[in-house]
């Protein structure tokens, strides 16, 4: 797996880009990543997107359209879909494609255009991540499905709503320093507690904002020269996907993210690392309850104790396991199918030491995890700085 390296990244700010089409956004992020990588052409383009076909956009053949926009007519290009984890699934497809040896380089683009759809239709589009026969006809919004989990979680483990506040407060504090974030303002615990209820117990400050966005990453086999002399080489240490039942009602333990546990476990085995060896974790905080469950599934908190890590400050940039270092889904924004690629761009920038005002003091190994639906498809990646072979002269100087 460590044969695959990240060569360049690019993205557009998450926002309502009324003047830009879905393809404009994807193309802009794609070309930014190519410029960053110092390349003009890749061997394949893989696109992650969730709602282009179900929303008012009504667009399939998206990858071909983006390839053409970028001036790469003829290029191998196709789309990968895994609901809100589409971007991360596309990244995995890119890794596997490069690692197979069939191509030398792949451009992965995650893109979503949500602001041109009326809000009830956006709500309906997001609900397509749930079971169309046995969940959707009964009218739950995607928020409501998460609210069902959160209420029961509070009931089982005795947490109060306010105990989840540090997740949103931390995300907003980090987003305030990120020029690509959708919500660049801090919030207080009091504001969190008084926010408008969307679907009880979830309020507006538990929930991530949707938006228009695109992010892109160039992957290639390690060893290729990269134009940035000071950049450490970032390689893929692990890539793992696992699935669970699509409906919450079919899960034996609805308060556990089984697919997240399984994909994280597989990722740790691939990387040969333990949970406590992750320097930071870009998790899928679409709702504050999901942040808690992700920490538990990744083995960073005991089952039922996710909020404790937040209360103790472990999730902050100076804590033992920083999360949402650029604002996370909660405040950077959640352009659903693009989000997984944003997370991986952010992990890469941390590892390169190019995270600007969001730079962590220690960033050598980072994990990203994307959750499709309420936990049906979970994609986990671990990226790390490639270890340099020990130099004889260096060893000598220590002797």
């Amino acid at each position: 797996m460590e044969r695959v390296a990240v060569l360049g990244v690019g993205m557009v700010p998450v926002d309502e880009h009324w003047d830009r089409s879905m393809v404009d956004l994807a193309g802009e992020a794609a070309l930014a990543a190519m410029t960053d990588a110092g390349m003009e052409r890749v061997d394949a383009l893989i696109v992650g997107n969730m709602t282009a076909a179900v929303g008012e956009s009504g667009q399939l053949n998206l990858a071909a359209q983006i390839a053409d926009w970028c001036g790469w007519r003829g290029l191998e290009a196709y789309k990968v879909e895994a609901a809100c984890a589409s971007g991360a699934a596309a990244f995995r497809a890119g890794i596997v494609t490069v690692a197979s040896g069939q191509v030398d380089s792949v451009l992965v683009v995650g893109v979503e255009k949500m602001s041109q759809t009326e809000s009830t239709l956006t709500t309906a589009a997001l609900a397509t991540a749930a079971d169309a026969d046995y969940e959707v006809p009964h009218g739950p919004s995607f928020v409501a499905l998460n609210a069902l989990i959160m209420r029961r979680y509070q009931h089982e483990y005795g947490w109060q709503h306010e105990d989840f506040a540090p997740f949103s407060v931390n995300a907003h504090a980090n987003a305030a320093r990120n020029p690509f974030a959708r919500l660049r303002h801090t919030i207080s615990v009091k504001e969190y507690s008084r926010a408008r209820i969307v679907s009880d117990p979830i309020n507006i400050l538990d929930a991530s904002p949707t938006g228009d966005g695109a992010a892109a990453i160039v992957l290639t086999r390690s060893g290729k020269v990269n134009g940035h002399a000071n950049r450490p080489t970032v390689v893929v240490a692990a890539s793992a996907v696992a699935t669970d039942t699509i409906g919450i009602h079919s899960r034996r333990e609805p308060l556990r993210l089984f697919a997240a546990e399984r994909s994280a476990h597989t990722a740790y085995l691939q990387a040969g690392l333990r949970p406590d060896e992750m320097d930071f974790f870009e998790l899928h905080d679409a709702f504050s309850i999901m942040a808690a469950l992700s920490l538990e599934a990744a083995g960073m908190a005991e089952v039922g104790q996710g909020p404790r890590l937040a209360q103790e400050g472990a999730i902050r940039p100076d804590g033992s396991i920083p999360i949402a270092t650029f604002g996370g889904l909660k405040a950077r924004g959640h352009p659903v199918g693009a989000t997984g690629v944003y997370q991986l761009v952010e992990v890469t920038r941390q590892l390169w030491g190019e995270a600007g005002d969001n730079q962590l003091s220690k960033a050598r190994v980072g994990m990203a995890q994307s959750i499709g639906g309420t936990g049906a498809t979970v994609v986990t990646h671990i990226l790390r700085i490639k270890a340099k072979p020990a130099s004889p002269s260096l060893r000598h100087s220590h002797a």
Partner: protein
């Protein structure tokens, strides 16, 4: 309008018909022909009693398209007495405060309508239990 979907699901929507596994006796809803507990074939129909308890619930104020006429409404996960869980709306709650653990029973109600020329979609909802268990 999804006419064929509603027709295909009529047994489940109107009568809560799932399956029972002939190998491990697990009761299955929604039906799926493969037992989620033992992994063997399980396509024998089984009619659920419709009785259960509220496992969790929430209120939808911002409904997805097609459900606007009913909002706000309460969606619940109902733990059926026979084992499986089902996602459904609560109805006929009146002034009663919904609580986790509240006993409920299945009733048939209108799930949605599809405009003046569309069809009316009926299916299961759950109400606070009236009959003795």
């Amino acid at each position: 309008m999804e006419v064929s979907r509603h027709w295909r699901l009529k047994q489940q929507r109107y009568s809560l018909v799932g399956e029972v596994c002939p190998h491990c006796d697990s009761k299955i809803f929604p039906p799926r022909d493969i037992c989620p507990d033992c992994g063997q074939e399980a396509s024998q129909p089984y009619k659920f009693s419709g009785r259960g308890q509220v496992y969790s619930f929430t209120t939808v104020h911002n409904p997805p398209a097609g459900h606007e006429e009913n909002a706000p409404y309460t969606v619940a996960l109902v733990h059926l007495d026979e084992g499986p869980m089902v996602t459904a709306q609560l109805t006929d709650v009146g002034d009663k405060a919904v609580e986790i653990g509240m006993p409920v029973e299945m009733v048939t109600r209108k799930l949605r309508s599809d405009g003046e020329r569309g069809i009316l979609v009926y299916g299961y909802k759950f109400r606070p239990r009236l009959l003795p268990a």
